[in-house]
C-alpha cells in the first residue's frame, strides 16, 4: 500500500469527492428529505416567495388522505390502472423467452460459405418474386372500365382520384412489401442470429416519446394501420360466427372453462401436496395460487367471449367518454341538486373532465360536493354518457375498437404497445445469455434419457434459466409500478382512464396542484409496494431455485 493512513484517506477523498458531493446532494440527501417532505403540507401554491406561511408538519396526514381520505378514490383507481398495465409483464417475459429460444435454435446456416450462398440465392429469388409481384399487380397502361376497382374506390371514398391511380399505388405497396420480405429473409440468412437480435431489440431502444407519437397514429380508429388490418379480419370472424351453429360457440366456451377448472384443480392439488410435505414453502404456494387465479380469470374472459360471440354483445362494457357539453350538463344538474356546492368549482371540473369516462368525472365532481355525494354524481354522469358501442361490437356486429379514445380499450392499447416494445429488449438479451450458459452436458444427458423437446425444456432449460427469470421479474415489477407516465402523457394525455400512479404523482406535484408533500407521499407508497413485491419475489425465487 502506498503512503500513510492519513495520506491514503486524503487521496481516496480526492478521487471520491466529485462523485460523493453530487451523490449526497442529488441522491442520498433527497431520499431523507423526501421522507420528511411527505410528512408536511408543503405546496408551492402556499409556500413560495410571495407568502410567509410556514410549512407545517402534518404527520401521517398525507398518507391517510391517499389511502382512506379525500384522495383515496383517485389513488385506488390509479393503482388499479397501474396493475392493469402490469398485466403485460408476464406476457412480454414469456415472449422474450420464446424469441430467445427461437434465436438460440441456430436454425439459419452457420458456415460462412453456405450463409453467403443461401443469402445470395434468397436475394435473387426475392428480386425475381418482387419483379413478378409488380408485374402481376400493376394496372397496365389503361384502366379497364369494367374493373371491380370502380366499386372499391367508391366504397373508400376515392371519388376524386382515378381508379388507375389507386391500382398503381396498391401495386407499388404490394411490391414494396414483397421487397422488404425478401430483404429480411436474405439478411437473416447472411447475417444470421445477430440480424434477428438487432431487429427485435430496436423497438425497446426507441421506446420514448417519438415512438409513442408514432403508435398514436397507428391506433387511430380511422386511418390508423392497426384498425385497417383489424377491420377485414373482424369481418371474416363475423362471417364465420354467423355461418356456424350457435351451440358450437357455447360448447367451445364451456370446454375451455372445464379445462381451466380441471387444470387449476390439479395445479392446486400438487401445490398443496408440496406444501404439506414441505417440498416448497408458503411463498411458492402463494405464487402458485396467484398464477392459477390469473389463469382462471383469463380463461373466464376468453370463455365469456366465445359463449357470447353469437349474441353480438361481446365485451360490451362501460360507457363512451364525455365531451365538453356533457360534462357541463352534469355540472349544471349537480349545481341544481346541491345548492351548497360552489358553482365556479363545478364549472372548472366540467372543463377539466372533458374526455374522461363518466366514472372518472363522477369522482372529480364528488370532490366539490358533500362527502356522500359520489353515488349520486355517478348516476348523473352515467346518464349523460352513452353505453359503449365501440367495444368489439356495435349494433351491426364486430367492429374495431376506438383504442386510445375509449376508456375501456385505452389501457389495453398501452399494454399491447408495451409488449411490442419490451418483448425483444433487454429481457431477451438476458435470456440469450442465460441460454448460452447452460452446460451442453445437461442436454446430452436428457437426450440419452430419450427426452422429447418439451421435456428438455421443462427439465433442463426452464430450471437452468430460473435465476435469469427471477432477475427479470424483479426488475420488471420495479419498473412496472413506476411505469405508464410517458405513454399516457403522449398518447392519451391521461384521458380515457389511463392515469397510473406515476402520472398521478406528476399531476399532484408538478402539473396543477404543486402539492409537493402529497406527491412525496405517493412516491413512498410506491416504494413500499415495490419493496413488498421485491421481498416477495425474493422469497418465491429462493424457494423455487432451491427446489
Amino acid at each position: 500500500m502506498i503512503g500513510s493512513k492519513k495520506k491514503r484517506v486524503a487521496i481516496a477523498m480526492m478521487f471520491l469527492l466529485p462523485n460523493l458531493i453530487g451523490f449526497l446532494i442529488f441522491t442520498a440527501g433527497p431520499i431523507f428529505f423526501s421522507l420528511y417532505m411527505s410528512l408536511t403540507d408543503w405546496a408551492l401554491t402556499k409556500h413560495n416567495e410571495f407568502s410567509t406561511e410556514p410549512i407545517r408538519f402534518v404527520g401521517m396526514q398525507n398518507y391517510q388522505r391517499l389511502l382512506v381520505g379525500d384522495e383515496s378514490v383517485f389513488f385506488w383507481d390509479y393503482l388499479g390502472n397501474t396493475i392493469f398495465l402490469m398485466i403485460g409483464i408476464p406476457i412480454s417475459i414469456a415472449g422474450s423467452l420464446a424469441l430467445a429460444l427461437l434465436i438460440n435454435a441456430k436454425a439459419t446456416p452457420q458456415a460462412p460459405r453456405i450463409r453467403i450462398r443461401a443469402g445470395v440465392i434468397a436475394l435473387v429469388i426475392g428480386a425475381i418474386v418482387t419483379f413478378f409481384a409488380w408485374l402481376a399487380t400493376t394496372p397496365g397502361p389503361l384502366p379497364d372500365p369494367a374493373s371491380p376497382l370502380l366499386e372499391m374506390s367508391a366504397e373508400v371514398g376515392l371519388t376524386d382520384k382515378s381508379l388507375f391511380e389507386v391500382a398503381r399505388l396498391r401495386s407499388i405497396s404490394f411490391t414494396l412489401i414483397t421487397a422488404v420480405f425478401s430483404l429480411v429473409i436474405a439478411l437473416g440468412l447472411i447475417v444470421g442470429s445477430v440480424f434477428f437480435r438487432t431487429v427485435y431489440y430496436l423497438p425497446s431502444l426507441l421506446a420514448s416519446v417519438p415512438m409513442f407519437l408514432f403508435w398514436k397514429t397507428l391506433y387511430r380508429p380511422r386511418g390508423g394501420l392497426i384498425n385497417a388490418v383489424l377491420d377485414p379480419a373482424l369481418d371474416t370472424i363475423q362471417t364465420i360466427i354467423t355461418s356456424t351453429p350457435r351451440f358450437l360457440w357455447y360448447a367451445l366456451g364451456i370446454a375451455l372453462w372445464t379445462a381451466a377448472i380441471i387444470w387449476a384443480f390439479r395445479l392446486m392439488r400438487s401445490g398443496i401436496n408440496k406444501l404439506v410435505h414441505k417440498d416448497a414453502g408458503a411463498a411458492a404456494f402463494i405464487g402458485r395460487t396467484a398464477l392459477v387465479l390469473t389463469m382462471l380469470i383469463t380463461a373466464y374472459g376468453v370463455g365469456a367471449v366465445l359463449v357470447q360471440a353469437p349474441q353480438q354483445s361481446m365485451l360490451r362494457s362501460g360507457f363512451t367518454s364525455l365531451d365538453r357539453s356533457q360534462t357541463q350538463t352534469i355540472a349544471d344538474s349537480l349545481a341544481a341538486e346541491f345548492p351548497t356546492a360552489d358553482t365556479a368549482e363545478l364549472n372548472l371540473i366540467a372543463r377539466n373532465t372533458d374526455g374522461s369516462s363518466p366514472d372518472d368525472a363522477a369522482r372529480f365532481f364528488a370532490t366539490a360536493l358533500p362527502d356522500d355525494a359520489l353515488p349520486r354524481t355517478r348516476t348523473i354522469a352515467r346518464a349523460q354518457a352513452k353505453p359503449l358501442h365501440d367495444g368489439l361490437t356495435s349494433g351491426d356486429g364486430l367492429t374495431s375498437p376506438e383504442w386510445l379514445l375509449s376508456p375501456s380499450w385505452a389501457k389495453t392499447a398501452l399494454v399491447v404497445m408495451g409488449i411490442w416494445t419490451a418483448i425483444g429488449g433487454a429481457n431477451m438479451l438476458l435470456y440469450l445469455a442465460g441460454l448460452a450458459n447452460i452446460p451442453p452436458e445437461l442436454y446430452e444427458a436428457a437426450d440419452i434419457d430419450g427426452a422429447s423437446g418439451w421435456q428438455r425444456f421443462v427439465h433442463v432449460t426452464w430450471p437452468q434459466l430460473a435465476p435469469t427469470t427471477f432477475f427479470i421479474v424483479v426488475m420488471s415489477v420495479i419498473a412496472g409500478v413506476q411505469g405508464g407516465f410517458e405513454q399516457a402523457m403522449v398518447m392519451t394525455e391521461g384521458k380515457a382512464d389511463t392515469i397510473t400512479l406515476s402520472y398521478y404523482l406528476y399531476n399532484i406535484g408538478f402539473s396543477d396542484r404543486f402539492e409537493l408533500g402529497l406527491a412525496c407521499a405517493i412516491a413512498w407508497v410506491m416504494f413500499a409496494m415495490i419493496f413488498v413485491l421485491t421481498i416477495f419475489n425474493f422469497r418465491v425465487g429462493n424457494q423455487l431455485t432451491n427446489d
Binding site: 376515392l158 382520384k161 420480405f181 408514432f214 425483444g424 442465460g434 430419450g450 409537493l516 416504494f527 419493496f531
Partner: protein, 287 residues
Amino acid sequence: MPNPPTPTRVKPSTLAKTLGRAVIVALLVLLALTFIFPFVWQILISLSALTDVDLLTQTGFPPALQPENFITIFQRVDLARYFFNSFFIAGWVTILQVITCSMAAYAFSRIQWPGRDKVFLLYLATLMVPAVVLMVPNFVVVLKLGMFDDYSGLILPSAFSAYGTFLLRQFMLTVPSSLDEAAAIDGASHWRIFTTIMLPLARPGIIVMAIFAFLFNYNSFFWPLIITKTANLRVLPVGLLQFESSYGQETPLIMAGSLLAMLPPIIIFLVLQKYLVKGIQLGAVKG
C-alpha cells in the same frame, strides 16, 4: 407414458430436421417483419402530403412522395435547437458521469481507507430506491440552487450516478491488482496508476456505462418536462410532444420529426452493439 424396454434415441430424419429449421426461420422472419413493418409505415407517412395521409391505409403508398417534409419540420419548429439541447445535455451528462464515476470506482476498488465499505453500502442502498422518490426532492433542490429552467438543472442531477459507480467498481475489481502494485513499486502515484493503467484496462466497462448514460438521458422526458419552462431549453421528446399537441393533424411532419429523433440511438446501437449487449448481460450476472 409406458417406457420402451431399451431407451434408444430416435434420430429425426434429415428431412424432418430441415423442415423444423425452415419453420423456425419462417417464424424468425415473420416476427422480424412485425417489428420492421411499423417503421416502414412510419417512413411512408413521413413522406406523404398532408392531404394523402387519411387515404394511406386504402392505397398503401402515397400518391406523391414529399421528402421535403424533413426540411419543413425544421422550419415549422425549432428542431435544430431541440437536437442541440438533447445532444448537449446527454453529452455533458455522459462525460461528467464517466469522470466522476470512474474516479469514485477507483477509490472504492483500489484504495484502502477506513469506512470505505460503509460508504459503498450507502451507494448500493440508494440503488433500491425508485427514481420517483427522488423526483420531488430533486425538484426542490434544483429550485433552491437556482438551477430551475437552466442547463445546469438538466445536467447536474444526473451527473453522479450511483449505478455507474457500482458498475465500474465491479469492472475494476476484475483488473488484476498485480499490475498496479508493480506500478506502485516503481513509484507511480495513484493518479498515474488511474490514468495510465486503470482507465485503459476498464475501457469496455466505461464504454458500456457511457452508452447507457447517453441513451437514457437522450430519451429522458419526465425530468426535462418538469424542470424547464422556456422553449429554448426543450429537449427532443418535450419539443416533439409540444409540436404534436399544437399541430396534431400534421401527421407527416410529426412522423418526420420523430424519425429524425430516433436516428441517433439506432446509429449508436448499430455501431456499438457488441458493447451494449455485453453490458446488459453483465448487469444480470452482477445483480
